[in-house]
Amino acid sequence: MNAFEYASPATLKEALGLLGNSWSDAAVLAGGTDLLSLMKDHIAEPKRVVNIKGIKELGGITKSGGGLRIGANATVDELMESAAVRAEYPSLVAAARGIDSPQVRNMGTVVGDLCQRPRCWYYRNGFGLLAMKGGKSLVESGQNEFHSIFSSGPAKFVSASSFGPALIALGAKVKIASASGSREVAVADFFKAPTGDGDREIDLKPNEIVTEIVVPAAKGAKNATYEVRNKEGLDWPLATASVVLTMKGANVATAKIVLGHVGPTPVVAADAASSLAGKAINEETATAAGKAAVAGAKPLSDNGYKVQLAAVAVKRALLAAAGKA
């Protein structure tokens, strides 16, 4: 990694003042579980690293009538251990558990999980975010077994965040601060598929800090996340599905289905979700919803198998949410 200037501000205001207008000016450091790897591999080369862990106002997980607030410094482990989260958001707990390394959970933050960069092996080996060579996509013509099955543009990597889909399904928002003020973005809009190598996968500018995530109260909505991972221990999911169901009696009133690790952003399966309205969740309806969720999939040369995995993840998440797993 390159030498860099290190700052450890005590307030958000101070921290914002230390950021720049380009990604190479400064990088925000939370747990560092991703940033340090990026810097070691010279994928990120910030001149200044701004550690936000000392900023008290960014810490903690709090529950109020309005829902759940997850501060930027709240770790994955804090989330997983929070009684409030356990009681209402099994979907988030499952996503947290999937990051199956106590070390990463102890250091990594939930916000950092949303902001982490893709794990695409071309990108991490220095071939650029979109991995183009001579006008050709290395991913398309090369080794793409872990890549996207839902790309319409040039981005063929998958969004690495398991919290993204769960938070989108729950209707969460992120709050973002800059020196000139603050804004709120729905997590669903926070993720975006980049079209240039210099772009980010999230709606964030170099001079901004995500301050917190706000998750609406579940109000009895059933929710679950199902991950397909090859290994029991630490391993990236091959596909995930997060679902939220509100029920009317034994039948679904409204449903949300969001897929993870299958596209450059989390993939919202709106049609599959709406097709569930008025139906009970059982093996048959859940299977049909899974199939519907992957109807638009466009697998690459070597990842057709992920289409089935995504469909199965949806089915199993729905059955889990309905208490039938």
Binding site: M1, N2, A3, H42, R119, W121, Y122, N125, F127, K133, K136, L138, S141, G142, Q143, E145, F146, V228, N230, K231, E232, G233, L234, D235, W236, L238, D302, N303, G304, Y305, Q308, L309, V312
Partner: protein, 718 residues
Amino acid sequence: MPNYSYPPMEQRRVMGKRITRLDGMEKAAGKAKYNSDVRPKGTIHAVGVFSPHAHARVKSVDTSAAQQAPGFAAVSVVAAPGAEVNWAGQEIAFVAAQTEEQARDCARLIKVEYEALPHLVREENLAKAGSRGKPAGEQVTGDPEAAFSAAGAVTHEAEYGIPVITHCCLEPHGQIVAWDGAANKIEYWPSTQAISAVGGDLAKQLELPATQVHSHQDHIGGGFGSKFQSDLWGAHAAKLSKMAGGKPVKLYLERREELTIAGVRPSVFGKVKLSASASGEMTGWDSTTWMTGGFAGGGLNADLLPYVFRNVANRRINHTAVSTNNGASRAWRAPNHPQVCYITCAAMEDLAAKLKMDPMEFFLKNLDKTPRADTYKAQILKAAEMIAWKQNWKPRGSSTGTVKRGLGLALGTWGGAGHASRCRTTINPDGSVLIEIGSQDLGTGTRTIITQVVAETLGLPMGGITLKLGDNNYPASGASGGSTTVGGVSASSRKASVDALDKLFAAVAPALGVPADQLEAVDSKIQVKGNAAKSMTWKAACAKLGVSAIIAENANDPRNPGGLTTGGVGGCQMADVSVDTETGIVKINKVVAVQDVGLVINPKTSDSQVYGGVIMGICAALMEERVMDEMTGRFLNADMEFYKLAGAGDIGEIEVHMDITPDHDKRGVIGIGEPATVPTIACIANAVANAIGVRVPVLPLTPKNVLNALHNTTRRLA
């Protein structure tokens, strides 16, 4: 001629006991020092510059900016302008600086210009290899065509493959080395499987006499066959040290280079045709296999096919080694065997399914084509009992439900006779005993078993023995490869200690009033054989030596081991798996391993070797694969993130049965590390085929490959 034979089984007090590894606690507590932890005073750090191209000509190497960088100490260029590099990761230069970070900065400042040349990095499609494939020439026995077309013959023809996998040593390859130019002496702390030889290997690279290199190593973090040489990085680290005025240089490979250039296991892909009579008598085998061992084209011994069942009457073997632009292969725990075992046992299981025969019956029926039918028969029956084969086995594909269960089996073999080894035993007048041996403990329990043998021989508790190994000043002992260590070091330490004891007997015989050959050493005493009343304590006996210690040195001579060690073992493993047919995820319920091995010095450490071997086999069966990219020529998953290894949750239950019998015991000591890993991959793959009803032809058994097999979307090899 002294009698070096081991005491009979029932008389052993220390040998044959389940003794916990002597260095286990030290390691578990983090106290053990690996050479990558050693920091002699004044250590500086070196890193490498490696080719990003799979094939290129080096046009220029400019080190001037690096030489101006903070902390710079020395630079050594490997690839001069004009040199051709033949794989990504090939060494271009090494640079040393005061700190590791500075060395990395220096490395990035070394500017190398390349002229990229065409490359080939993937070998699974033999047609694409063209002239880079070197056929080994056909071998034919009998008449395979006639066997295939014989009336009533049932034939099976299919493709199989195992990709290249890497050694994944947790302690990467490397060393600390200090070359004192004035004295022309080198102190060397390598990570090595060959402490007695590796210093000489380094000296040879540096054109020095072997006497000038002093090598030390207490512990090693994995080698698996990849750490025998001093390597290019060893020589350059030494040169950097000399250039830096003799300061110790630490140069260890980074994870990416560790996986890329420090050795891999060759792949094997192939088409197999085999036949049997309707009653299951195997009649013919025809295989066309190919593989890559990297650029230099390290081979695979296809002559082992069909593995274990090699005496099939009609046999045709074709094999091609493909030179690819990849780092060289190195020996990997049981070189050749796991791959040919998979090709053979998978094809046999598939044929058995076609014959509608229980594969266990099919294997049993054909044991006459193996070199040890009786051993294998007993092992198969034992393993079957352990896994409840009769109760649990169902015909292929008849398991119902989403999660399907299946059983599979495979057989293996290996040599494992003891290597050349010298040992020195010193009995001091104060009663202390010192054993010096130029061997190494790879984490297998070498320290423990040598101490057991000596304690047994001298009638002392293990605590009465001080063992020193891991230094080339000690009597030379062989490299730890081929599962040859245990047989070699047990024989040499036994012989040296018997010799030393005989001298002690001679010294005390007059005092006990009997000839020396009437004495024995038991319970820390020297006594007249069978007469505990006429005895002397060990301490009192040693005191008779006056001022001069007894020093005895002896050796294991592999050509004439005198019954202390032999080679040649068989093993049978069976796996019980569950496959989620919706996700393609394979879970190991249980693997049972029955292993014949000769005299077992320590059943606990030998069981551990089998556990380790089975775990490595599980990793390779389920997850391991080097992913090469043809466009960029790069090894895409040269990390521990997408180069996947099984974790504790993935390995299921492993049950080991070591065949400890008086008959096997008479064969002497035989190595166990390698045979234990041979059948694992094949038995798991067979269990998966049995569960899901179709063969997953190319490993590993990942969701991708399993689902492709289930949906019949597996890509043909060629």
